[in-house]
């Protein structure tokens, strides 16, 4: 149950783009066409799903205060957490290289669709941000870390897909000259972020429900599913609204 809760929380409530502004650079640069946006989004899900659990292991067995106690009692007092930035980014950079080599070897077609984006991803704030948030929110187990990685990847994917679709449409609208391109994209993203804030109340009832019967919790997740469906139509509506505003 925790997994489902964390999964939806990381997609909607703590959405990487709309709540914490992570990965904005590539989000703005690569969202001109839906097809490229899908490629980059898929690559982000893929890399986050690998690096977050990996960095969780690093954090748990190497970096945290007292994490080295498995080496022996004399190591129990070491605190290497100041090294976490450098360890995380090194893991991410090497994993991205490794994934690139493996994918190229075993699935040339996937490599062709992801290929150009993989090196870009090493410096995507969303990837490092995923690991840093995983650390600062003290996620409890390896499984939860994986769920968190996949969930936030999907959230990022949704965001870039939505903005790419809107940008394809907005080309036909009469946007004021100085706002064209970057300016209007910023403002649309702001409006979408306001829309996503409405998901904030989605899981607040969940905390009490966990202590009660299992059944109530299941109802809560069903509602989540509905909201997920409703989300797609909401994004479309938002696109309509923004075009109207612009007109």
């Amino acid at each position: 149950m925790e997994h489902v809760e964390l999964f939806f929380k990381s997609i909607f409530i703590d959405n990487m783009v709309f709540a914490t502004f992570l990965g904005m650079c590539s989000y703005l640069a690569v969202s001109k066409k839906v097809s490229t946006a899908v490629g980059l989004g898929a690559a982000v899900i893929f890399v986050l799903a690998i690096t977050v659990p990996l960095n969780w292991l690093l954090d748990q067995y190497l970096l945290q205060p007292g994490a080295l106690s498995w080496l022996g009692p004399e190591y129990a007092e070491y605190d290497l957490s100041f090294l976490s930035f450098i360890m995380f980014i090194a893991t991410i950079a090497t994993m991205v290289q490794l994934v690139e080599i493996v994918v190229e070897k075993f699935s040339p077609s996937l490599y062709n669709s992801l290929g150009i984006f993989l090196p870009l991803i090493a410096v995507n704030c969303a990837i490092l941000g995923g690991s840093l948030f995983m650390q600062s929110r003290e996620i409890a187990s390896l499984g939860l870390a994986a769920t968190y990685g996949i969930g936030s990847g999907i959230g990022w994917f949704l965001a870039i897909l939505a903005i790419a679709a809107i940008r394809e449409k907005i080309r036909y609208s009469n946007v004021p000259g100085p706002l064209r391109g970057l300016g209007i994209t910023f403002i649309i993203t702001g409006l979408m972020a306001i829309g996503f804030m409405s998901f904030g109340g989605m899981l607040t009832g969940g905390d009490e429900a966990v202590e009660e019967e299992q059944k109530t919790v299941e109802v809560v997740t069903e509602v989540d599913e509905d909201k997920k469906l409703a989300d797609v139509s909401e994004i479309e509506k938002e696109a309509d609204n923004t075009t109207k505003v612009v007109e």
Partner: protein
């Protein structure tokens, strides 16, 4: 500018307006938006980026001829990560409260696209002194936008600047509040950062028509 040749001063002045890293090059937006609800945090963030970008550009420029080009991204990331750790430890030691506010965003300077972008585009092909000026210039360009956004969001959102109330007291109804003025709490929410940057882009591009995209 007796100290700097014309070409060098251009390196510093260009990124302030016509080649601004945030509004024109679209780099470094990730960390720029999340921490601008208060002016103080914006200023500290700008100074951190100034330090990392200035020093990092010099280091990369000094070792540019011995980095194998295949692994240069990893080398660059390690250099930035080391500098960011210094910033993080200094902040934790001297401004603990502020480093709590900035939370993971100090760490995210590592993947701030401005830094990698300037390493790739400038420091790998130029000498240390020019790279240093380029780094300083771009960090100032980044800081200017951050401070403008932070200024408006704090002023309109909570009626204070750097924590000092300047529009009067909202509870005692003094100053502007006596005339029925209310703080716009909306400005403190994260989506408004995006919209404020969008408006800055609008103003900037209306002034300089050459920047308009088609």
């Amino acid at each position: 500018m007796g100290l700097l040749s014309k070409k060098d001063s251009k390196l510093i002045l260009d990124p302030l307006a016509d080649n601004n890293p945030i509004t024109i090059q679209v780099l470094g937006i990730c960390s720029a938006l999340a921490i601008t609800a208060e002016l103080e945090a914006s200023i500290v963030m700008s100074i951190s980026v100034l330090f990392v970008l200035g020093v990092g550009n010099v280091i990369i420029s000094l070792i540019r001829n011995i980095i194998p080009s295949k692994i240069r991204i990893i080398v660059q990331l390690i250099v930035v990560a080391a500098l960011v750790i210094i910033v993080d430890l200094v902040l934790k030691a001297f401004a603990y409260e502020l480093s709590k506010t900035l939370s993971v965003f100090v760490g995210l300077i590592i993947t701030n696209c401005i830094i990698m972008g300037r390493f790739e585009a400038f420091a790998l092909g130029n000498g240390p002194w020019r790279s240093f000026l380029d780094g300083i210039g771009n960090a100032f360009g980044y800081g200017v936008i951050l401070i403008i956004v932070g200024f408006f969001r704090e002023l309109l959102g909570s009626g204070t600047l750097l924590g000092f109330p300047i529009l009067g007291d909202p509870i005692e109804k003094t100053g502007l509040y006596a005339f029925g003025y209310e703080n716009n709490g909306f400005m403190l929410l994260s989506p408004m950062a995006l919209i404020v940057v969008g408006l800055i882009i609008w103003v900037q591009r209306s002034k300089n028509k050459a920047l308009i995209e088609d």
